[in-house]
Amino acid sequence: MSVPSKPPSHLSAILGWGGLSVTLYILLFAYEKSILDLSARGKWYFVVPILIAFLFSFVHGQFTGVFWEGLGFTAKK
């Protein structure tokens, strides 16, 4: 039995985070009118764009991180 190597785990991380990221973008554009309507109201609705930005930064940030790692772009030790 061979020990699982690194590439498959990278691939599953890329596919997992990538899939989640793409889903978020699809949802954003599927509901763009409602979301824009909420954020255009201003005042306390300012939380809408802020929360979306934090959520996307977390999910897409994870995806882009594992993406470059998967391509072999890692920090120099």
């Binding site: 954003l28 554009f29 255009a40 470059w68």
Partner: protein, 363 residues
């Protein structure tokens, strides 16, 4: 539904354009801590986005980008969180004052006056600071001192001043300095951010030359400052309903790819490369903004009227040079990363041998 009219229809071509500009901007920001976002506001406006929505959406993509970049670079031990938070808070105050002056100038002199003020700020500040950083970079390159940086005379003086009750230890400096020095620097960073959208052109050089931090830590710490400023700025604009979250998230999609790569790149390069990229971008952008000053002077009727075709030509050339500035910076970063990776993979390459031989030679 009237408020929705300020948001443009997005097609795949526009989205692709913003994604690419976002990627290049993110690459530069991940590497030098700032400086990748200045082209995004005009880029969005060129698609028909109203100015204030472009500024607001740019701001809304900057803080999550800075957060991801700061976390990445913190993993490499490059971030001085305390410095970033202290300077970030004073930068917030600078943003408010800077925005107030912007508003005042706009009321008194109109759009042309406001544009002239912004362009003059670009030219004077980027010209002075960019020349300083470039001179220092060339000096380091010529003397072969590309591996390590030492605090200059001004920074040593700042570090020697002891003001009771204001001294704080900063990890990035490995010494205690008075916050009475960091607060005005943060404030100036915020003022610049409110004026030209890139506070880091003051924030990073100030941390290097005034406080004595090395380029790697200064550029990484700037990401914390940018995050603090970005959250505050976004709340301000979102409170008035100006953020187009679709634009912000498309730019973010590209810029997070860029910022991760830029951050990784800092671990492969010598510190002077960070200064080189910063200086090249600053001086090229300065040239770009200097070109449009006659346009605004003409609109204010302070010089002879200019043909509309000439104005439009100067504005287009200026925008093209701005894009060139970003492309130049990104090109240097990518080349430096590829070279660094090659050297890391083959540590006995001729350039390494040469460096090792040089370092053993008596001076």
């Amino acid at each position: 539904m009237d408020a929705l009219q300020q948001f443009i229809q997005l097609d795949p071509a526009n989205a692709g354009y913003l994604f690419i500009v976002g990627f290049v901007g993110g690459l530069v920001s991940g590497f030098i801590g700032s400086g990748g976002a200045f082209v995004l506001t005009p880029a969005m406006m060129s698609l028909g986005v109203p100015g204030i929505v472009a500024v607001a959406s740019n701001m809304c993509h900057k803080f999550p980008k800075a957060l991801v970049g700061a976390m990445k670079r913190a993993k490499y031990g490059q971030v001085d969180l305390k410095m970033g938070l202290i300077m970030g808070m004073s930068a917030e105050a600078g943003v408010l004052v800077g925005a107030y002056y912007q508003e005042l100038i706009k009321q008194r002199f109109g759009d042309a006056g406001s544009n002239l003020y912004v362009s003059l700020a670009f030219v004077v500040i980027l010209g002075f600071v960019g020349a300083l950083v470039m001179r220092d970079t060339l000096k380091a390159y010529r003397s072969g001192m590309t591996e390590e940086e030492k605090p200059g005379r001004l920074a040593l003086w700042v570090q020697s001043i002891h003001i009771p009750g204001t001294m704080v230890y900063f990890r990035g400096l490995n010494t205690r300095i008075s916050v009475l020095f960091t607060i005005p620097l943060g404030f100036a960073t915020g003022m610049l951010a409110a004026t030209i959208a890139v506070g880091g052109f003051i924030g990073v050089p100030a941390q290097i030359y005034v406080l004595g931090m090395n380029s790697l830590m200064a550029s990484a710490t700037e990401l914390v400052i940018a995050f603090v400023m970005g959250v505050g700025g976004t709340i301000k604009f979102a409170w008035s309903g100006y953020v187009d979250i679709r634009l912000a998230m498309i730019i973010l999609a590209g810029s997070l790819f860029g910022i991760q790569l830029g951050a990784i790149g800092t671990t492969y390069v010598k510190p002077f490369v960070i200064k080189l990229v910063m200086a090249v971008i600053m001086l090229t952008v300065m040239f770009s903004r200097a070109l449009v000053i006659p346009v605004y002077l003409s609109q204010l009727e302070w010089i002879d009227a200019m043909q509309p075709s000439t104005m439009s030509m100067l504005k287009n050339i200026s925008f093209a040079i701005m894009i060139l500035a970003l492309a130049l910076g990104a090109g240097i970063i990518l080349m430096a990363i590829l070279k660094g990776r090659r050297e890391a993979a083959h540590p006995t390459s001729p350039s390494h041998l040469k460096l090792a031989t040089e370092s053993r030679m008596p001076s």
